[in-house]
């Protein structure tokens, strides 16, 4: 076996030093500017963001779906972040009045960006479904980290007329040398798919994300994307590992994308600076059992455990997730800040009434129910989980 100290010496040898090129500093400056522009663009509100979906395929999560912004389901469950345990009322701090009523409010934070120029907005009104012949599909970057792998695939409308595509696409993966089950994300017929507009020569990015683990499994060598108006596009991505099961997210977003673009704003990023520790503690108070296909009424109590006042402005969003048999149901809403205090003093608490339509397709038994609150930049402000017994 190799002499490890020798390897250490070899790796630290001065011969590894290199003289930087003269354009390195300019490259760094340019990279910083590019990142800041993309970040700003992603945060700006878009009229095309009516798709509003935070993740994959919409579910009929609630009867008020028409006003609720986000509901989705896709492949097998990804690892969820778990924090404080559940079903516990706050035991300390000062509660602020009665529970703030639940309202299905749209998310306010960055989800999808798009072009809001007048020309594009005008094009939206006349856009028709894209044909496969109008589109090109090109591979983009692949990244992995923090238990998540993401493959980006770029789309472009190469025609001279605007056209629309659903935000969630039906995909068929293929793995050379491996037999893998046909995997297509299908929308429930009860839900109209959200769509995006690709202006003439306009780009879009498809992000495919899923859990990452060490398990060996088939590697998807190509995917076929069905175009609703007919035809399909086939692309060979760098690699998608299925060791932990299929992917959990598949979202098409308008605009230039890739890991630094709009689609990436919704996903854990392997190279982003670490998210600050959630400032607020959250506790769910929910029944131990919930019926499939029925509404679950529960409350979430936020407490400020710090010695400083924490503002609830700009109003945060929250996302609920519940694993299904081989998928993950998720829904995102804006917090009902209009009926809540604008800030929480030290040790102060506020309780929000919540509602979640338990998917009828959920399997019986215990399931981890996760509630996550995020700020306008997507940073986690509070997270909590509970275990629901589904009947």
């Amino acid at each position: 076996m190799t002499d490890e100290p020798s390897l250490n010496d070899m790796l630290h040898d001065p011969a590894w030093r290199i003289t930087p090129g003269t354009d390195l500093t300019e490259g760094i400056k340019s990279g910083i500017r590019r990142r800041r522009r993309r970040r700003s663009a992603a945060i700006s509100t878009s009229v095309l963001a009516v798709v509003g979906a935070a993740v994959a395929v919409p579910l009929a999560l609630h009867a008020s779906q028409s006003s609720s912004p986000t509901a989705s389901v896709a492949g097998p469950p990804a690892a969820t972040t778990s924090a404080s345990p559940t079903s516990a009322s706050p035991t300390s701090g000062t509660a602020v009045g009665a529970a703030v009523p639940w309202v299905a409010l749209p998310v306010q934070g960055p989800k999808f960006s798009g072009d809001t120029s007048p020309a594009t907005v005008a094009a939206v009104t006349s856009a028709v479904p894209c044909l496969a012949s109008q589109l090109t599909m090109l591979p983009d970057e692949q990244r992995e980290g923090r238990g998540i792998q993401t493959q980006w695939v770029g789309f472009r409308n190469t025609s001279a007329t605007a056209c629309t595509m659903p935000a969630v696409l039906a995909l068929t993966p293929a793995a050379a040398g491996n037999t893998i089950p046909t995997w297509q994300l299908q929308l429930p017929t009860s839900v109209s798919p959200a769509s995006i507009v690709l202006p003439p020569n306009g780009p879009a990015q498809l992000s495919l994300s899923g859990p990452l683990c060490d398990s060996k499994g088939p590697v998807v060598s190509s995917i076929s994307v069905a175009v609703p108006s007919g035809g399909a596009l086939t692309q060979t991505p760098t690699r998608i590992l299925l060791g932990c099961g299929a992917l959990t997210q598949s979202v098409l977003a308008a605009g230039e994308g890739g890991p630094d673009g709009a689609a990436a704003q919704n996903l854990p990023h392997p190279s982003d600076p670490p998210v600050a520790t959630p400032a607020l503690t959250a506790r769910i108070n929910a029944p131990q059992a919930a019926a499939k296909g029925k509404d679950l009424d529960y409350t979430v109590t936020l407490t400020n455990p710090t010695g400083k006042v924490i503002s609830l402005q700009p109003c945060p969003d929250y996302t609920i997730s519940l694993p299904l048999n081989d998928a993950m149901a998720q829904a995102s809403y804006g917090l009902n800040c209009a009926a809540a205090p604008g800030s929480l003093a030290p040790q102060q608490s506020v309780t929000f009434a919540m509602k979640f339509a338990v998917p009828a397709s959920a399997s019986q038994g215990n399931a981890k129910f996760t509630w996550t609150m995020t700020d306008r930049s997507g940073g986690t402000m509070a997270v909590t989980t509970t275990t629901l017994g589904l009947t």
Binding site: M1, T2, D3, E4, S6, L7, N8, M10, L11, H12, D13, P14, A15, W16, R17, I18, T19, P20, G21, L24, T25, G27, I28, K29, S30, G31, I32, R34, R35, R36, R39, P139, D140, E141, Q142, R143, E144, G145, R146, G147, L212, D214, T238, P259, P270, S271, D272, P273, P274
Partner: protein
């Protein structure tokens, strides 16, 4: 980075040589090393207040490089396997440079994750557990990756005389 963040540029200027050397070991390719450092410093520069607040900026840049490297940040670029020669220091013999070149050639044959595991374990001096945490994988994976990597590097480290072809490349 705005002009009101001069400490970022002071940091970058001071640590650039070390970061480039680190990236060179990690990528086994000097051009990739420059790109990787540029990529990492761009990311960190865009978030400098948060990174600086954390107190260990260099470690953060290194970790950013590791993450970017193993995630194939440059997957759209063709693999550049053109033999380039390490820049010999004045006090270094041709044989030493050749030996480094041989190690670099061997490192290139490893996967990005294997190289990252080697760098974390034998450059940064992390434990198996720490390296596994950094790469978000199991300790068993780190052990197997470093074992495979060391097996390939072993002949180079045992042999004091560098391969003739590699030595020739330095001239």
């Amino acid at each position: 980075v705005k002009d009101d963040a001069p400490d970022f540029w002071a940091f970058a200027a001071a640590r650039l040589p070390a970061l480039l050397a680190y990236a060179h070991v990690l990528t086994a390719n000097r051009h990739d090393a420059e790109e990787l450092v540029q990529e990492a410093l761009s990311r960190v520069g865009a978030a400098w207040p948060r990174v600086a607040k954390g107190g260990n900026a260099e470690a953060y840049v290194r970790r950013t490089m590791i993450n970017a490297h193993v995630s194939g940040w440059r997957s759209r670029r063709r693999e550049d396997l053109v033999a380039t020669v390490p820049e010999a220091q004045q006090d270094e013999s041709l044989e030493q440079v050749a030996a480094i070149l041989a190690v670099r050639t061997a490192l290139r044959q490893l996967s990005p994750r294997q190289r990252a595991a080697v760098v974390l374990r034998y450059y940064d001096g992390l434990s198996v557990e720490e390296a596994a945490q950094a790469l978000n994988c199991s300790t068993g994976t780190i052990k197997s990756q470093t074992h495979d990597a060391l097996s390939r590097l072993a002949p180079l480290l045992r042999d004091d005389s560098p391969p003739a072809t590699q030595a020739g490349a330095t001239q």
